[in-house]
């Protein structure tokens, strides 16, 4: 009797163990199932590089190039802001801060990671958006720049915690060796620690960027949602994620619009898959 019970439980454990693989495949399959139909209407090339997104005009024009550019612009801005600040903060926490400060800072970073994106979007709307509007004398503060700044804060916790882990796992002997040779603490960090932790830091940056590309609510609330090819960082843009979130509510199940939004989901899934697999390879190289 006990044998049977254990047999059942151990098989259940195995099934749950491989459930993650199953769910990843399931997500991909269902995106394909609903999204691939769009390519009967619009060729893959025209879908990706078509310059106009008018999903409800007759006939619909389903080119997501403006949305891709919107996502890239916001992401690039967020990366420029968050990478130096995030890595700087990681170095400070890992190498310089005293133990007590370190614990407090780490809790602060966790706090930032925990703030829901809709709350960050709300705060961005009421503080950052008017600020950007006044500083640059714009007709609206809902711009790619506002989105970039807000998203930088969503990327930072990821970058800081993974980069800090990478620095922490550099063998102590490297540091001691450099210091014993008379290098200053900064020379040790710059010439020894950072190169030794480089693959982990690279992974941190990639995962941070992955977080930004996939971010939805904050970006939808503060980038202005104009599906046109952006000419500068100070105009409203619309990202891939915001398009899905804003339009799926109105799309009729089974319409071209519905298929197209799922096809955008396929694009996002492939991007995040590529980023996560590459980052994982970098993290494993380190070990």
């Amino acid at each position: 009797m006990r044998k049977i019970k254990e047999f059942i439980i151990e098989n259940l454990i195995l099934i749950c163990g491989i459930a993650s693989i199953f769910f990843v495949l399931l997500i991909f399959l269902f995106l394909l199932k609903e999204g691939l139909a769009v390519f009967k209407i619009e060729g893959p090339f025209k879908f990706l590089f078509g310059k106009s997104w008018y999903p409800i005009s007759e006939p619909p024009r389903l080119g997501i190039f403006p949305l891709i550019l919107g996502s890239l612009l916001v992401t690039a801005g967020a990366a420029i802001i968050s990478i130096p600040i995030g890595i700087g903060c990681a170095i400070y926490i890992a190498e310089i801060a005293p133990v007590k400060t370190k614990e407090i800072l780490k809790a602060g970073i966790e706090l930032l990671a925990a703030i829901p994106s809709v709350v960050l979007g709300f705060i961005g709307m009421v503080t950052l958006v008017p600020f950007v509007k006044t500083v640059f004398h714009l007709p609206t503060g809902l711009t790619a720049l506002s989105g970039s700044i807000m998203l930088a804060f969503m990327a930072m916790p990821t970058i800081v915690s993974i980069a800090e882990d990478a620095l922490y796992s550099v063998p102590k002997t490297y540091k001691e060796g450099a210091l014993a040779l008379g290098a200053t603490q900064w020379q040790t960090i710059w010439r020894v620690m950072l190169p030794a932790a480089s693959s982990g830091i690279l992974a941190a940056v990639m995962l941070g960027i992955g977080r930004v590309i996939g971010e939805t609510m904050a970006v939808m609330m503060i980038t202005g949602n104009a599906a046109v090819i952006p000419q500068s960082i100070l105009v409203p843009v619309r990202t891939l994620t915001a398009t899905i979130a804003a339009e799926m509510g109105e799309a009729v199940v089974g319409s071209e619009h519905y298929f197209a939004l799922f096809a955008i989901g396929i694009v996002l899934f492939i991007i995040s898959f590529a980023i996560n697999v590459t980052a994982d390879l970098f993290l494993h190289k380190r070990q």
Binding site: L12, I15, I85, L105, L111, F122, F153
Partner: protein, 282 residues
Amino acid sequence: MRNPHRAQKIAFFFLFLATLLIVVPVGMIVVIIIQKGLPAINWQFLTDIPRQGMRAGGIFPAIVGTAYLVTGAIVFALPIGLLAAIYLSEYSKDNILNRLIKLAIVNLAGVPSVVYGLFGLALFVVFFKFGASILSGSLTLGIMILPIIITSSREALESVPQSFREVSLSLGASKWQTIRHIVLPNAIPGILTGTILGIGRAAGETAPILFTVAAFYLPQLPKSVFDQAMALPYHLYVISTQVPNVDEKIRYGTAFVLLALVLFMNLVAIIIRYKFRKKKKW
């Protein structure tokens, strides 16, 4: 030649500045929301339904909706996540399957939240015909928080010393008995931490519930798992972007309740982890 000590001073100053650039805005966000949101909080705001097109009244249905969704997500994700963690920590060998599972977990954690929304719509709402319902939303959120629960439970299980298992096995206990009576009890704080973090995440996410459950305005409470429901994060989105002329107090109040809920969960998780680390005898 440049003075290396001066270079160090300048470099450390910039690193400190970078840290301030993260910490100060975070502090400001929390302070602003507390300062402007706390005055809006009263018994009526927490227990009344939204009135006058969400420009007055309270947020009770949204609080209840979020509670249902989170409960549903945990009921689904905790057993699967815990068993998956047991598999990874106790049963799996260092082979290609193990590697694939870990890669799948990393990918599940990285899938954009709005893609979870699409998936939930396609699978639960349309394919299984659950409709936009608490059931669809809970299952979608449950799959989304699975990686959080697996990862933290696995760490907790793996931190139980090998010698505990060896002693139990040498006394004639079976592998499952050892896991059930020796490994699991010692890993409970870590599992709890992961579960609470999962709850916090599920409570705060908006994109996965947009098309699977969230109701724009629903002044009565849901009666079954096949009903739509309001939810706090979606409600905050609605009153800050979709409804004009909502009193600022109501917006800040809603943001405050949501933030307080999520931060409280995280605080509890941090405290459990801290206490456990202190108590650990091995």
